[in-house]
Structure formats: C-alpha cells, structure tokens
C-alpha cells in the first residue's frame, strides 16, 4: 500500500513536471536562435492564463479560448523581443537579462491591478474525476496536460523540420552569421522564436491553470522549476527536457510528502545550482569548444 502511495505521488508529480518541461521548451526556442531567454516568462504564462480566463468569462467556448490565449501569449512574446531583447542583441550585450526581468515586473503589476491579487478558479470542461490504472489514480485533467504538452512540442518540431520558415529557424540556430549571409533575416527569425516561445508559455498557463488556479503569483514558483528543468537538461538538449521535467516533478512531489510542502522547491533549486557547477551545458547538452 505504501509503495502504491509513493508511486501515486511520483506519477502525479511527473505529470505536473510536463508543464515545467513545456515552459522550459519555450526557453530552448529562443535560446537556440539568440542565446537569450525571457526572465519574465513566468509573468507571460500568468498573463496569458488571466487573459484566457477573461475570454471564458465573456462566454467564449473552451475550444476557442485555447487558441485565443495562445495567440495572446505569442503577441506578448513578440513585444518582449522588441522592447527588451533586440537592442541588447544588436549591441552584443547582456542587457536583455535585466530588461526581461523588468518587463516581467511590469506585467506582474499590471495583472495585480487589472485582475486583482486573489487567486481565482479556472473552469475547464475536462473532468477531474480520477481514472484508475493499476491502482493509480490519474485525472483526465492531468492527462490533458501531458497530451497538450507533447502535442504542441511535436507540432513545433514538425514545423521546424518540414517548412521553409522552420528550416530558416534551424539555420539561424546553427550559425547566425552564416544564415544571414545566405539571406535569412536573423532578426525575423529571433522574432519568430519569441512568438513561438510566448505561444507555448501561454498554452502551459492554460493547461496548468485549472490545477493551480489563476493569480498574479501562480507562475513565480512554476518558473523557477522551468529554469531548473531547462538548465539541468541543457538549454540545447531537445527532448531531454521532457525526461528532466518528469523526474523533477516526481522528485518535488516526494519531497513535499517527506519534508513538508514548504520545501518542495528546494530539490529543483539545488539541482539547478549543482548542474550549473558540474555540467554548465546540462545533462543532455553539448559542450562547446572555446575559440579564439
């Protein structure tokens, strides 16, 4: 019975871990093209969830809310690229770290004042009555998260491999200067990557909102774990993030069972610092050669 409880905890945790993986995937998209990530991505997740909630409140059916929310996220992603990233990339500086943090703060404050500081439930047509698999309970809601995550990641990867625009994306990721010499606009491609990143972040928000409820702080812990997943797996690790996401989700679920829920963030944070110390390119990442 006890083993079953442990497995149950691990499975529920792992399914949540898929959300971290999805947000981490958003980091990978922009890191591939521009070597930059949005430190305010958590606020982007949260704002998209709030926006989707407003769409639901206005009476829109769920199947329209999802693309609507994702579109909103993509627009925010484009805004972040324009306002916070482009200038410092042109100057080859790291000002984007501060600037994306600043935009996140702005978004946080806006959400507090527009939608209020309280957590609100996020209605969903997907049932949360548990299904039983070999004695383990899994809700369709949790399953929808996993399916949604894998589906959108699969679609983006397909887009990168099968379309001309996607090939341009891959070319800029491989070598920005060479791609530019071949007539591919790096600026446009980086823009595209931020749009896509916003899109997947918004989906993460919509998927996780029914489980966590929606509030200004809903993403502040989520984002730390997404950072952990991205860094531990490696910012260029491809699907390695899914494995790390599953692992970290299970780990923190067990930690909160054994040590209390206040400590649930600790393993991810420790893993992140350790991973940076031991393998700065991540468990699944490639080491780069220093050139002079």
């Amino acid at each position: 019975m006890y083993t079953l409880l442990i497995v149950q905890l691990a499975v529920s945790g792992a399914l949540m871990g898929m959300v971290y993986a999805l947000i981490a995937y958003g980091f990978q998209l922009t890191f591939a093209t521009s070597k930059s990530i949005n430190f305010g991505q958590g606020e982007l997740v949260m704002l998209s969830a709030f926006f989707s909630l407003s769409l639901i409140d206005s009476g829109l059916p769920y199947w329209l809310v999802v693309p609507g929310g994702m579109l909103f996220g993509a627009v925010l992603g484009l805004f972040v690229e324009r306002a916070a990233v482009r200038l410092s990339l042109e100057q080859k500086g790291e000002g984007w770290i501060l600037l994306t943090i600043i935009l996140g703060l702005l978004g946080f404050s806006a959400a507090e004042n527009i939608w209020g500081r309280d957590d609100r439930p996020f209605p969903t047509p997907i049932s949360s009555d548990p299904l039983h698999f070999f004695g383990i309970d899994v809700t369709p809601l949790e399953l929808s998260v996993a399916i949604g995550v894998l589906a959108v990641m699969g679609l983006v990867e397909l887009f990168k491999r099968k379309t001309l625009l996607g090939k341009a994306f891959e070319a800029v990721s491989a070598d920005r200067d060479a791609a530019q010499l071949m007539g591919i606009s790096a600026t446009r491609t980086i823009q595209l990557s931020y749009g896509l990143s916003g899109l997947v972040a918004a989906l993460a928000g919509i998927l996780v909102a029914p489980i966590t409820t929606v509030g200004p702080t809903m993403a502040s812990v989520l984002i730390l774990k997404a950072f952990s997943v991205a860094v531990v797996a490696g910012l260029d690790s491809g699907f390695g993030i899914v494995l790390v996401g599953l692992f970290l989700g299970a780990l923190e679920s067990l930690t909160s069972f054994y040590l209390g829920s206040g400590w649930r963030e600790a393993p991810g944070l420790i893993l992140l610092i350790l991973a940076l110390a031991v393998r700065p390119n991540g468990v699944f990442g490639k080491a780069s050669i220093r050139k002079v």
């Binding site: 790291e94 770290i97 935009l103 860094v231 002079v292």
Partner: protein, 651 residues
C-alpha cells in the same frame, strides 16, 4: 593634480560631514530613520556594484545575502549574547562564507547562467528562512534586540553615526581596492576571461573574491538592517527588494561609489515618493523631460538609435499619464519601478553619476592624474642572454576534434633566442597548435617540454605562469580598460602587497611602479601617447600592438604571436616588424604565426610549415619557399615545381 585630489576628496568629506550633521540640526525620528536606511543601502549597493558593475554579471542574490546577514546578526545576539561589533562581524563572515560557497559553482558561468544560479540561491535561502521555523520562527517574524556597542547602549542618532562610520570605512576600503590591481582584474575578467587567464591573472581567484566580497558587504548591511528595524521577516528579503536594489545600482550608475550612494538615497526615498501623489507627479514630469532631452539630443547628434531615444520617452510618458490617472500609486509600485528601470537601462546606461561625472569634470576642468615617467626598459623587460639550447620541444603533439585531426603528430623544437616562423594554409592547424601550447586546449596526445620540463596542460593560467605569453589572432583586449590598464593588469612581479594593505590604501607605491613599467612597454610598441585611451577606442593596428605590449608585461621567455599582421595596413606591418625586432633584441624567443611571407622571410631564422595538422617542411625561409610540398600545399599540384613562384602573401 592637487586640484583634482582636493575636489574629489573634498566632495567626499563634505557629503560625509553633511550627513553626519543632519541629526544635530533636525530632531526628527522619521528623517533619522531614512538616513540610517540610506547608510545601510549604501553599503549594500557598493557591494552589489562589485558584481553588477565591475564583474559585469547580473547578481540576483544580494537581497538574500542581506537577509542571511540580518538573521545571522539577530540570532547571534539572541543565542550567544554577542555585542554589536561581534554580531556585525558574524553577519559579515556569514555573507562571505555563503558568497564563497555560491561563487564556486557559479565560477564557470557567464551571463544568463550566472543570473539563474544567483536567482536559485535567493529562492533557496528564502525557502530556508521561511521553513526552518525552529531557528528563524519562519513567517511569524523574529524580534531582534539592539546589543550594546563596547558597553554603550546606542539610541537612534548614535546608531545612525555607527552606520555612517561603517559606510565611510567601506567606501575608503573599496576605493583603494577597486583602484588597485584587484579592481583592474575584476574588469579584465568581465571583458575577456580567456585573456585574463592567459595573462596569468587567475580568473577563478578574482571572480570568487569579488563575489565573496560583494556578499560579505551584503551580510554586513544585513547586520545593520537587523539592529535598525529590530524585527525580521523572510519576505522582506525577497524579489521585490532585489528589484529595488538593482534599480539603485543602475539608476545611480555602475562602477561608481558615488553612484551607489546616489542610488541608495533614491531607493531610501522611493516609498515617500510613491505615497505622495503630488510629489510623484512632479517627479514623473521631470523624468519625462530628461527622457525627452536626452533622447532628442541623442537623435540629433545621431549617437543613439531611434529605439534607444524613443523607448524611454514612451515609458516615462506612460508614467506621467499614469500619475495623473491612478488614484493610489502604491498599488502600482512595481510597474513604476519597472518603467523607471526600463528607461534608465535603455536610455541612460551609465546611470546618473556616470552622466554627472562627465559634466562635473568639464565644469571644474578636472584633469586626469598626471602620468609618471616611464621606467627603464631594463627593469621592465630585462635583457636575457640567449644561450641557445632547446627552449620549447613538442613531441608528437596531437589534438583531435571528434574525427578532425587538427594537429596530428607535430614534433618541433624552438631554440632559445630565435624567431621561429610557423606557417601553413588556412586550417593547417597553426592556431590549434598554439592554443594547445598556451593551455586553452588539452592535447589529445604527445608531450610539450619547456626547458626540458613538462608544460602544464589545459590551463591558460598555469602556462602563463611558466613564462610563456601569447597574443590572440582575434583580439582579446580588455575593451573598457585604458591602454595603460591593459598592460598593468598583466604585469608580473609587481603586485606583492597582501589584501589588507591594499584595502588600507598602503599599496600606492607598487601602483606607481606598475604605471611606470606599463608606460615603458607602451612606448616600446609606440603607444606612449595613447596610454589613457580605452582599448576599444584604439585603431585596429594600435590594438594589435597593445596586445603585444600586454603580453610583454609577463616578462616572457617565449612569446607566441598569433598572426600579428592580420588585417594591418602596410605602414603598420613595417612598424610591427620593427617592434618584433626590438623585442627579439631583448632576448625574448618568439614563435611567429604569419601569412605575410615577406614578414616571415625578414624576421625568422627558421620556419616550420604545417598542412593538415602535420609538418610538411622545415628550414630557412628560402629553403621552405622552394620546397615542392609547400608550394603544392599553398597553390595545388604544379607540373613544374622549379617554375612556380614563391607563395608570397599566401593564405
């Protein structure tokens, strides 16, 4: 000279005296509280500026160190009955220890990874302070009593003077430190970690020291914070405070003690500013005017891009409009911080003090300090007697990248006192060989001997310490440092004073000697009149020469020049050859990688030719030029080798 010293020191003393005198003139506990907070934030921001300004890394852990220091001081009083000084020392040491612990994993990290590591550390420390209720009482908060100071009970004004005194001490110590070799090393490692190691300065040591110092000051400020408020809660040291601290450093101005003080005053006053609507309206109007003026000026002079000029105006415009519409500005405090920070980061990257310093220097005609007379070259680069014999021996050196054999079994000997040419077509393995010798790459196989002893492998730093110095094909100068500072960073055998003496300002003598030595080397390469120019502002040719002067500061036995003539105009090539001859006359052995055959022919007694990672020929320049294998490597297969021209300017 005296005017400069008088004005700068005078301004510091005046500011200190003014701050100290306020409690005597104004009997107002609220004002006193603000002043105390200003002094505490001052110490905190001077620390944060070491990482954000000098090391150039986004440090998101300073608020956490403030918290750790505060709890350490508070708990040491509660549990061990420590006095004020002992408790403050505890706070400082706790900051230092945790800073060092975090610095070690964060060592190898740059940019976003470093920011993430510090972010995780803050989150971890917040979790611990919250959850370890047995020690910290968690979210309930911890009452702290203010201990006695050397037996005296301090009330508010006296405690403020203590904070101010500590701020003044920290100010002096940091001024001494940051204007010494330590400060230069911090900046060098921000601009090029590779070159910092290659100049034998030691990236790790300085990065750890800089970060630990910043954290220690954070801890000390935390101790004062605890005894000022006498009540601690974990959430006081969270993300909100961190953003405010960054605002302080960036707004005040990076790499500036005055900037930290200005920033500290601003963030101490911010809450007042936000709670008073009229004041806030005036403030945002001023902000908008500054943004308009700065942006307009930048656009007219075409020094800024349109985005850089317009974005702050838009942000400040939103702030202005918001201040008129919004009823309760407190609700929007985060957005207000964000808009202000955004405007400063984009539109005024040097901060208020960076801007003001230039203005004031012009206003008072403050001249930079005078340069000393250059030292004699005999002390800076003592003449070596070249006694012949093998200096550097490579035996079967190999370096593979995956399946690519970049260096594939190279054996060669560099005799002491010679200029040894290393040539070969692009991709023949010259640069890889040099990178292996100088320690950037670990060899896949083979041996390297310097004067018969094995050369350290895979560490630029260790190789630099053996007397091998190098320049870089793709320049690796410290762009934000002056030409003189670039050379001074690398100087060998000059900086001997231990850290405490440096902090006390008792290391000025060696600093003067270092300046004289650096000038001598700059004159050797013809840059004597450019000593004060920033490296990034020099012409391309002068940057190449500066790289050579910097390498010479290591007093090298063996100097490796990696394509020093690449991209140089003809007159500069001649100048370069003169410089190399002069260096050779001082008895320095040289490995010269070059594509210019005329340079090689004129300078090198012996030339080794690489192709495909292997040596294909060796001999005098004339011999190699006629070697059919060399001609084939450069020009392809030729039917009649005797008739082929020498590969002048190949590559």
């Amino acid at each position: 000279m005296w005017k400069r010293l008088l004005l700068i020191r005078g301004a510091e003393l005046a500011a200190l005296a003014l701050l100290a005198a306020i409690p005597l003139m104004v009997d107002n506990s609220y004002v006193l509280g603000l002043l105390t907070l200003l002094a505490i934030y001052g110490i905190l921001l001077i620390g944060l500026d070491v990482t954000v300004g000098y090391l150039g890394q986004v440090n998101l852990a300073q608020a956490a160190f403030l918290g750790l220091g505060a709890y350490a001081a508070g708990l040491s009083v509660a549990h061990f009955d420590f006095g004020m000084l002992a408790a403050l020392a505890t706070a400082l040491v706790v900051g230092l220890i945790f800073g060092t612990l975090l610095a070690f994993p964060a060592l190898r990290l740059e940019g976003p990874q470093f920011a993430l590591a510090t972010l995780s550390f803050s989150a971890l420390s917040a979790t611990t302070l919250n959850e370890w209720e047995g020690l910290t009482l968690g979210a309930q908060g911890l009452q702290v009593s203010r201990p006695s100071f050397l037996g005296m009970t301090l009330d508010a004004p006296e405690f403020f003077w203590l904070c101010l005194l500590l701020l003044a001490l920290v100010w002096m110590a940091m001024r001494n430190l940051l204007s010494s070799q330590w400060g230069r090393a911090f900046e060098a490692l921000r601009d090029s970690p590779i070159a910092t190691d290659a100049m034998g300065v030691g990236t790790y040591r300085h990065k750890v020291a800089g970060f630990a110092l910043a954290s220690g000051l954070g801890g000390l400020a935390g101790g004062l914070y605890a005894f000022n408020f006498q009540y601690l809660q974990p959430q006081s040291f969270g993300w909100d405070l961190m953003v405010i601290l960054l605002l302080g450093v960036v707004l005040g101005g990076r790499k500036s003690l005055w900037g930290a003080l200005v920033g500290a005053s601003l963030i101490a006053l911010l809450p007042n500013l936000l709670s008073n609507r009229g004041l806030f309206q005036i403030f945002s109007a001023i902000g908008l005017l500054i943004a308009l003026a700065a942006g307009g000026q930048g656009l007219l002079k075409k020094t800024t891009r349109p985005f850089q000029a317009l974005a702050p105006v838009v942000a400040m415009g939103i702030l202005m409009v918001g201040s008129l519409i919004v009823e309760n500005t407190e609700d929007w405090r985060k957005a207000i911080f964000a808009l202000m920070l955004f405007s400063v980061v984009v539109g005024l990257p040097e901060g208020l003090m960076g801007f003001a310093a230039r203005f004031l220097a012009k206003l008072f005609h403050i001249e930079p300090p005078r340069l000393p007379a250059p030292a004699s070259l005999d002390t800076v680069l003592p003449k070596r007697i070249a006694n012949g014999g093998a200096l550097l021996e490579l035996r079967g050196l190999e370096r593979y990248f995956g399946g690519v054999k970049a260096v594939d079994g190279v054996s060669m000997t560099v005799q002491a006192g010679e200029i040894h040419g290393l040539i070969g077509p692009n991709g023949s393995g010259k640069s890889t060989a040099v990178n292996v010798i100088s320690g950037l790459y670990v060899p896949t196989g083979g041996d390297m001997l310097l004067r018969g002893k094995s050369l350290p492998v895979g560490s630029l730093f260790k190789v630099a310490r053996t007397g091998v110095a190098r320049t870089f094909q793709n320049l690796q100068l410290f762009g934000e440092l002056s030409a003189m500072d670039n050379v001074m960073v690398a100087l060998k055998d000059v900086y001997r004073s231990p850290l405490p003496l440096v902090l006390l300002g008792l290391a000025r003598g060696e600093e003067k000697r270092a300046r004289a030595a650096a000038l001598a080397l700059l004159e050797l390469v013809g840059l004597g009149d450019q000593a004060r120019s920033l490296a990034k502002d020099l012409t391309y040719g002068d940057q190449r020469f500066l790289e050579i002067a910097r390498a010479l500061a290591r007093k090298p036995e063996l100097l490796i020049l990696d394509e020093p003539a690449a991209g140089l105009a003809h007159p500069d090539v001649n100048k370069l050859m003169e410089i190399i001859k002069r260096i050779h006359e001082r008895g320095v052995s040289i490995i010269l990688i070059e594509h210019h055959m005329d340079v090689i022919s004129e300078l090198c007694g012996i030339v080794t030719v690489l192709d495909g990672g292997k040596i294909i020929a060796a001999g005098t320049a004339e011999q190699v030029k006629r070697d059919p294998k060399v001609i084939e490597a450069y020009l392809g297969v030729v039917d009649d080798p005797a008739g082929a021209a020498a590969p002048a300017q190949a590559g």
